[in-house]
Amino acid sequence: MTEPSTWEQILDYSNRANPYPLYDELRRRPVTRLADGSYLVSSYAEIAALLHDPRVSSDIGRNPAAAAAGASVGDDGDGQGMTPTFLSMDPPDHDKFRRITMRHFGPPATPGRVAGMEARMTEIVTDLIDKMAGPSRIDIVDDLAYPLPVTVICELLGVPPGDEQRFRVWVDVALQSTDPGLDPETQQKKRAEAGRELRAFMEELVEAHRQAPGTDLISAMATDDGPEGRMPDGQLVSTGLLLLIAGHETTVNLISNGALTLLRHPAELQRLRDDPDLAIPMVEELLRYEPPVHFVPFRTALDDIDIAGTTIPAGASLTLVLAAGNRDPAHVTDPGLFIPDRPNNQHLGFGGGVHLCFGAPLARLEAQIALTAFASRLKNPRLVTDPPPYRPSPFLRGPSHLLIDIDGITS
C-alpha cells in the first residue's frame, strides 16, 4: 500500500482539527498535480494571481472534475436541474447576475443596507447571550454562532422564522455530500435528494413573495425590473438558495473558529474585552488564520498556464487552497501566529477577483459583533474539549460543537 498523499491526508477526517502542518507540507510545492489530473495551488502569490487570471474559468459546466463528481460543490449541492448561479459562471453572465443581485443588497443601488443592519445584529446577539444566564455549559455553535447568521440571513431574504428548522436538515445533507472523501455516487445521490427539497422550498418562497412582496431581498428580486431586466425564475431560485446557505454556513464557522481561537489565546481575549474595536482587525486575522472556506474547487484552466515552474494544461481542473496560501511565509511574517491587529492584512479568506465573496460585508459585521459580545459578556469562559469535534467538510471547516463552561454573564 502506498502512503496517502498530503492531499488525501488533508481530506481525511482525522486531520480536520489541525490541517495546518499538512498545508505547510503541501506548500513546499506551490503547484501540485494530483493523480486524477487536477492541480492544487497552495502558495499565496500564485493563488492571488490565479484569482485575477482571465484564463481561469469558474464555469462549472467546463470543469472535468465537477463532471466526474456529477455536480457542483459551490452552488447548492444539487447538480440536477438546478440552474447555476453567478458563483459558477464566467463574465459577462457572472457580472450581470451578480449585479442584478447586488442591486438590492449593496452599493451602488442600495448602499446602506448592510451597515443599517448593525443595530438589529446587536439586538440578536444580546438576546442570544441573555439566554445564557447563570453558571452553565453552553455550546457556542448552537447558542451563538449558528443562530445569529441564520436569523440575519432569513430576515434579509424574507424567510419566515421557523422555516429554518426545515432547511437545516437538507443543508446538512447537501454539505456533507461536498466532502470529497465520499464516493461520488453517494455524494450525488444525497445531493440530489436534498437539492430537490431545497428547491421546492425556495420555489414556494419566491412565489409567496411575488404575490405579497415585503421589503426583503427575495421580494425585491422577484418583482423588480432593473436596467438589466429581471432574473429568470430558475436562476432566482438557485441564487436565493446560494445566499441562504452560503449566507450563514461560512459565518457560523467564522464565529466559532473565532471563539475557539480566543479561548486558546487568553491574552488576546482580554485585549478584546478592554478594547472592543480590536474585533475589527481581529476578524481579518481570523479570516487569514482560521478561514471558514479552506479551498476553492472546480476552477478550470482555459489555456496552458505557466505558473511557479509548472505548466497547468488547458482543460485541467484547479483547486486553490486558500487556507494554505493564508499561511504562506513568503507573504506573511510569522504566519502561524494569531496577531489580532496584524498590520496591512491582505488574506485570501474571501477569495479575490470578480468572485470575491458576495456576503463578505455581512459576515464581517456579524463576526465583529458576535465576538465583541462573546469577549465582554461571558464570565470566565473555559473550553470543555480541545480540540472540539469538527464538522465533516474539509472545505467549509469549523467545529460542529464548541462546548464551554461559564460562570454567568454580565449585563
Binding site: H52, P54, P91, G106, P107, G112, I280, A360, R364
Partner: protein
Amino acid sequence: MRLVVDLTKCQGYAQCAFLAPDVFTIQGDEALTYDPVPDEAQRRRIRRAAAACPVQAIRIDQPDRSEGARHPDGTPGTAAPIEGNGGSFKRSGRIVIVGASLSGLRAAERLREEGFTGSLTIIGEETHEPYDRPPLSKQVLAGSVPSEDTTLPRRREIDADWRLGVAATGLDLAAKQVQLADGGRIGFDKLLIATGVRARSWPNAAEAALAGVLTLRTREDAATLRQLLARRPRRVLVIGAGFIGCEVASVCRELGLPVTVAEAGPAPLGAALGGVIGAIAGELQIENGVDLRCGVRVVSLDGDATGQLCRAHLSDGTTLDVDVAVAALGTVRNGEWLAGSGLASGKWGVACDAGCRAFDVNGLVTDDVFVAGDVSRAPQPMFGYQFLAVEHWGNAISQAEVAAHNMLSSETGRWPHLAVPKFWSVQFGTEIKSVGVPSAADEVAVVQGSVARRRFLAVYGYKGRIVAAVAFNQNKWLEFYEPLIEQAASFPPSFHHVDEPADAQPVPARFQPAANPTQDATVVVTGHYPNERRARLTDRRLP
C-alpha cells in the same frame, strides 16, 4: 478625521462602501469616490472599511498626529561635510525638500520611517499643508467635498521645519544651498526636488484674465470653479480633452449643466490612450449629453464690458455663448527655479536616473540631489530606457519612496524605480484605469468584455510586445496584465480566456505622431579637450 484611498490599488470591491456608506460611494460598476474629511462619528465604520479592504488601499490619519513645530527662520547654513559613514548622516544630516505636496510629504514620511533623525525642512510655494489633487476635479467640483477638505492624512509624525508660502528661487549646488523668494538661504546635505507641474494657462493673456476663464490645478482653482458651477452658468466650455478636461465635463453633466468640449485632436484622451480608445471615451461623452467637438480649436474668447467671459470663437467658424471656460491644456513643469544651477532641467522636467538622482547638464549623475513626482523625467528600463515624465498620483508616491530610501542608502543598498506606471480616472460613472504606458504603443486590441456594454479591457502593443492595458469598468482583471508588461509578453495576446469579445484583432492605436524631435533640442556642447567639454542648456532652437 482624514483619509485617502490609493485608487491605483483599489479594485472596486466596495467593501468600504458597504461598511461605511456615508463616506465611500460607488458610482456605476466600480468607480469609488469618498469624503476625505468625514465626521469623527464615522470613525468606527471607517476603521471597519479600512480593515476590510482586500487590497488595503485606505489610509487613515494617525489620531495622535502632532504637527511638527515651526522653527524660527533658520540662519543660512553651509554644506556640512558628510562623513563617509551613512549612519552619521542618518542621525544628524540635513535634508531639504522643495515642493510641499504629494511626493514631498510621502518622501518626508518615508525618511522618518527609515530612521532619519536629522533636520528636515520642507519648502512649499503654496500656503497649504500638502493636499490631494485628484478630488479637485471630481468630488470638489461636484460639491460633495469642500476644497479645503483635501489635506492629506499623515501616516506618521514627521517633525519637519515647514516653510510654507515661500517659493524656492534658486539652487547653488557648489554651496549646497537653496535660495528662497524671501531672500533666505537654506543649506542642505541632501536635497529632494518635488516641485511638480502647473497648469498651462490660456495663451492669450488678456483673454486669460477674463472673469470665468481659469485652469484647474490648485485648491483655489477648484474652489473658484466650484463656485462658478454652483451659479449655474448658461454653458461651460472645456478647452482640451485630456483627463482634467474630461473629468470637468463629466462633473458638469452630473450637475446638469450644458457643456461643450473643444479638442484639437481627433478624440478625447487621444494623447494618453490613442485615437481608438479615445473615440470610445468620446462616445461616452456624447451619450451623457456633452457637446463634444473634436478637430476644433478655440480661437479666441470675448469678454463683456465688465470683463466677464461671454463668448468663444471656434476654428470651425462657430461661436458659443459661455460663462465659464476651463483651459485644460496640459502642464508646465516647475523647473525654472533651477535655471543656472547646472542640473539637467528644462521644460521636459528634471532628468534623473532610475534611482531618482538628478543628472547635471553634462549627463553626470549627482550624489546628493534627488527628484520625484511630476517634475521628474526618468529612464524606464522597461521601455527601452526612454526618459519618461509620468504625471500620475501613484508615480509621485513611488518615486518619493525610492528617492527617500536612496538618500539614506549606500551605493549597494539603493533601489531602482521600476514601478509600472498606473493611473485612474472617473468619468461619467465609468472607472478608467491603466497600467503601463499606452502612449508607447503602436497597436491596440480589445481583449476582454464588450465596447458596446462599456465594460472592456484593451491591451496595447509596441513591436509585438505588450506595453500597456486599459480597463473601462474591468478593474479586477487589470492586475493580470501588469506582469505581462514587465515581462515583455508578446502582443497580441494569443491565449484563451473568459469573456473573449467576438473581434479581438489588433488595430493601429492611432496616436498622433510625436513632434519633430529637433524642436526640443535645448542642449549644446562646447569645448575641445576632455577637461573642457561641457554641455550647456540653451533656449536657442537649432536650425
